[in-house]
């Protein structure tokens, strides 16, 4: 334990973790049927590679990753594929629980490339909530030097205890998983950031650390304060580093992983077990047996809660995720996915709906709790007024949507809802602007092509005329004075713009290989067409006076 730094603001909501951290981590009963959405990760949805009626085992790939950022999907029970639709795959179980595992890898000897490939095959994504494919995250070392791996065990949201229980039961495995990631990204240090409200997990970690560790692992216990589990906030608190706006932790040489993800990585490498189950916190006053369960992906939320003693008449809402940043489920007939870390079956008294909103009195309480040091109330006024310029100037996009401002607002203004709306409106505008720009480029390309064709036509015509003229030896009828100098300048400008477009294309392709280059290629093609047209016109103009002289 060493001293911690600090991020601004923060709040102390009721923790309510006792409800789910009193019982051990157990396996949920094997579901009879699972529904696997194709999109359980950030990026593109996976593409199904099984058909109706196919027999699958636990761990069989049922959908393959599609495109740059995506992830494989595996059957989480053995049985028969009963439905393949555009959005999900359903499997009817046979009750056998037959597994299909990949061969075991010794991570200390294995090549980094084979470890990466294993993460890719195993469909591992960040289990903390964002669901970013882990193999892509591991490849960040291609562009950034990483020196510290942070294990984000802060788990700052109320209610959730999934990481707590994971660490209590699997501290050794989590640390081993961390070493795999450290090997992949070349990190020299591993820091575990954990809030001091998890004494059992801290004890388990200390015990695991006392067994010999080949590389430097440091345990930092920080005082409980929301939102210290935010990636940027935790990095600030542990390392006193500011992750730049719009950047990634990798920009300051840090990689962040959730304990659950590290455990899944170890299971994938050591046991060849793809991501088919995860730890889910079941909690809330409306269930009688709260606690943490190993749940197969695709299990229905209703089935899971009913097994935990759901008291339906008391149930007010089920929240997926934490009470601060989670989302209420519209229906219980929805499956557990790779992103489901917590299900709160709340009663009305427990999480009542917010009281009616009253006007902002600019008290500034929101500012004093904002962990990013934004001015939430200014953003509120500008969001309501749809003043987009001001929103960007006051750094709307730096908001991490932690909800601390809404929590303290004495006027009960749903600030984060406003910010989310404003963000999505601005994102849409940006996309529209890019589309309009592309359309303009397409139009310019067409104009350039037509101009080039016209110039070619002219050149052919002139050539024909010259041939005809030579035998008859009559002076050119319409020999207008041509602006040779102007054409030369136009030619030089066209040449320069081709060079510029080439440079642009090369730079972007090098900087960000993921980005689509269609638009830049289109601009290059336009410049090339313009150059061709200019060349033809120039050649033509040069020929004319010479033909006149010869006559």
């Amino acid at each position: 334990m060493s001293s911690a730094f600090d991020f601004p603001g923060g709040i102390y909501p009721p923790e309510r973790k006792q409800r789910s951290n009193q019982s051990g981590l157990i396996e949920a009963p094997l579901p009879r049927r699972v529904t696997l959405p194709l999109q359980q990760h950030s990026g593109q949805a996976a593409t199904p590679c099984v058909a109706h009626g196919d027999a699958v085992k636990v761990g069989s790939v049922v959908a393959k990753r599609e495109g740059m950022i995506s992830s494989n999907l595996h059957a989480s029970i053995s049985g028969t594929v009963s439905e393949v639709s555009a959005t999900q795959i359903s499997i009817d179980g046979d009750g056998q629980d037959n597994w299909e595992r990949l061969p075991s890898l010794d991570w200390q000897r294995a090549e980094p490339s084979s470890l990466l490939e294993r993460l890719n095959e195993s469909g591992i994504v960040g289990l903390g909530g964002a669901g970013f494919p882990t193999h892509i995250k591991a490849r960040v070392v291609e562009r950034h030097a990483i020196n510290t791996l942070v294990i984000n065990a802060a788990e700052c949201e109320p209610y959730i205890t999934a990481d707590d229980l994971t660490l209590r039961n699997h501290a050794n495995e989590v640390l081993e998983g961390a070493q795999i990631v450290a090997k992949l990204c070349g990190a020299q240090h591993i820091i575990i950031g954990i809030e001091d409200n998890k004494p059992d997990a801290i004890k388990a970690l200390k015990h695991a650390l006392s067994n010999c560790q080949p590389i430097n692992i440091e345990l930092k216990v920080i005082p409980t304060r929301y939102p210290s589990g935010g990636e940027r906030q935790l990095i600030k608190r542990l390392l006193n580093l500011d992750v730049p706006t719009g950047g990634l932790p990798a920009d300051v040489g840090v990689l962040c992983h959730n304990p659950g993800t590290l455990l899944a990585i170890l299971n994938a490498v050591r046991d060849g077990q793809p991501l088919v189950s995860r730890v889910v916190t079941l909690t809330g006053e409306a269930i009688t047996q709260p606690g943490n369960r190993w749940v197969r992906l695709g299990t229905s939320v209703r089935e899971l809660l009913e097994q935990a003693g759901l008291n339906t008449p008391e149930l007010h809402q089920v929240i997926q995720g934490g009470p601060m940043m989670g989302t209420p489920l519209l229906t219980l007939d929805t499956p557990v996915t790779k992103l489901t870390n917590c299900l709160i079956a709340a009663t009305l008294e427990e999480l009542p709906p917010p009281p009616a909103e009253s006007p902002c009195i600019r008290c500034g309480e929101c500012e004093s709790v904002c962990p990013v040091a934004l001015l939430p109330q200014q953003l509120h006024w500008y969001a309501r007024a749809q003043d987009d310029t001001k929103l960007e100037r006051y750094h709307l996009f730096d908001c991490i949507e932690c909800g601390a401002c809404s929590y303290v607002c004495p006027s009960h203004i749903p600030l984060v809802v406003d910010y989310r709306e404003a963000k999505s409106r601005l994102r849409l505008q940006r996309i529209e602007a890019v589309k309009a720009e592309h359309a303009k480029h397409r139009f310019e390309f067409r104009q350039a092509r037509l101009a080039r064709e016209e110039a070619e036509k002219q050149a052919r015509k002139q050539a024909r005329q010259a041939q005809q003229r030579r035998p008859s030896n009559t002076p050119a009828a319409s020999s207008e004075k041509v602006d040779l100098r102007g054409l030369r300048i136009a030619h030089a400008a066209a040449k320069a713009s081709v060079k510029k477009a080439e440079k642009n294309l090369a730079r972007v392709a090098q900087e960000d290989p993921k980005q689509s280059l269609d638009d830049l290629e289109m601009q290059l093609a336009t410049a090339q067409e313009n150059l061709k047209a200019a060349e033809l016109q120039l050649a033509q103009a040069r020929e004319q006076p010479s033909s006149e002289e010869s006559s």
Binding site: T245, P323, S358, P410
Partner: protein, 349 residues
């Protein structure tokens, strides 16, 4: 969204954040009670009748304008903000002021300064101080004449109802506040001579001191309950004391002592109850410090060089004018951003 909300999800041991808006307002009203009680002890029941009359005007005017604006009346009245404006203005006026003076002040406060700008949360100026400033420039002599301590007669209350100005007192210094008396002591007098002459009725100075301390007590309650933040009062009193000390040290024979500035007039009342009005104050913490410091400095400057004996209302209104500027230049640097002040769009690193 399933955000945990302040009112709903408070466990007893973690109730650290601020109460909802309506109860914020009620807390401020409650915190004015020691001040009002002390004032009426020294200046008579006219203080209480002022407050009650102004509060009644406040509610009636707010309801009328909301009706004209076709806004829900009950919801807005429930937040008690009009009531608070009435209490603050009523407490600022000379005891047993004629009803129409209170009425004019409250119309300026509620109708013009608050509702015409869009109601709660939208007023750029402190409503109570707009009302007070209007009355001060309209009736300058009357507004600086206070009944001497322990001299409230039933006739005073009758004058309030009949609406006559107390003309009898207008040319006597006996009703003047200490600030007014000191201001008009004349250049020939030295400060020491002025005090030696014992120009004020017995007990005036100590009465004002007790009142000031009572406002301070209310303010401390507000700070302790986290109803107001410390930034504005601390910055305001700090700059006021600093400037007053500098003047006093430069020439103690002509300038009033810092303690005199602190404990007479509306200094402490203004620091905790007027300048801290969140709606018309600067928003960021740095901005609040600048805003408070500006008020403190302006109070000393106007009291020393200006035409009015006290200056809290004008200082607050002048700093209200500066709030948009302060807000623009006091933006904190968001984590991860290079620049503190709001950058231009597209300037993101």
């Amino acid at each position: 969204m399933s955000m945990m909300h302040a009112s709903g999800v408070k466990d007893a041991n973690t109730a650290t954040s601020v109460p909802p808006t309506a109860s914020l307002m009620r807390w401020v009203i409650a915190a004015t009670l020691p001040g009002i009680a002390t004032m009426s002890y020294f200046f008579g029941l006219g203080v209480i009748s002022n407050v009650l009359l102004a509060a009644a005007f406040g509610i009636a005017l707010e309801a009328t304008v909301l009706r004209l604006r076709k806004r829900p009346i009950r919801v807005a009245l429930n937040d008690s903000s009009a009531l608070l404006t009435g209490v603050l203005l009523g407490a600022s006026l000379p005891p047993a002021s004629p009803w129409w003076i209170i009425g004019v002040g409250m119309i300026a406060a509620i109708v013009v300064a608050k509702q015409l700008y869009g109601g709660l949360g939208h007023n750029p100026f402190n409503p109570a101080m707009v009302g007070y400033a209007l009355l001060l420039v309209s009736f300058p002599t009357y507004m600086t004449l206070w009944a001497p301590p322990q001299e409230l007669l039933p006739t005073g209350l009758w004058a309030q109802i009949s609406g006559t100005l107390p003309t009898a007192q207008l040319d006597s210094l006996s009703g003047a506040t200490p600030l007014d008396a000191f201001k008009h002591k004349g250049e020939a007098f030295l400060a020491s001579e002025f005090w030696a002459a014992n120009p004020l009725p017995d007990g005036t100075l100590s009465a004002w001191r007790w009142v000031a301390l009572a406002w301070l007590a209310g303010g401390v309650v507000l700070l302790a309950k986290r109803i107001i933040s410390w930034h504005i009062p601390v910055a305001m009193l700090g700059s006021l004391l600093l400037l007053a000390t500098l003047f006093y040290l430069s020439d103690p024979s002509h300038f009033a002592s810092p303690l005199f500035h602190l404990l007479t007039g509306a200094t402490l009342f203004g620091a905790f109850f007027i300048a801290t009005d969140p709606v018309s104050a600067a928003t960021s913490q740095r901005g609040k410090l600048l805003y408070g410091a500006g008020i403190g400095a302006l109070i000393i400057i106007i009291r020393t060089f200006g035409g009015y004996p006290d200056a809290v209302a004008f200082a607050v209104l002048l700093m209200n004018l500066c709030v948009p500027l302060l807000d623009l230049y006091s933006v904190p640097r968001p984590t991860g951003q290079q620049k503190a002040s709001p950058g231009k769009p597209g300037e993101q690193p």
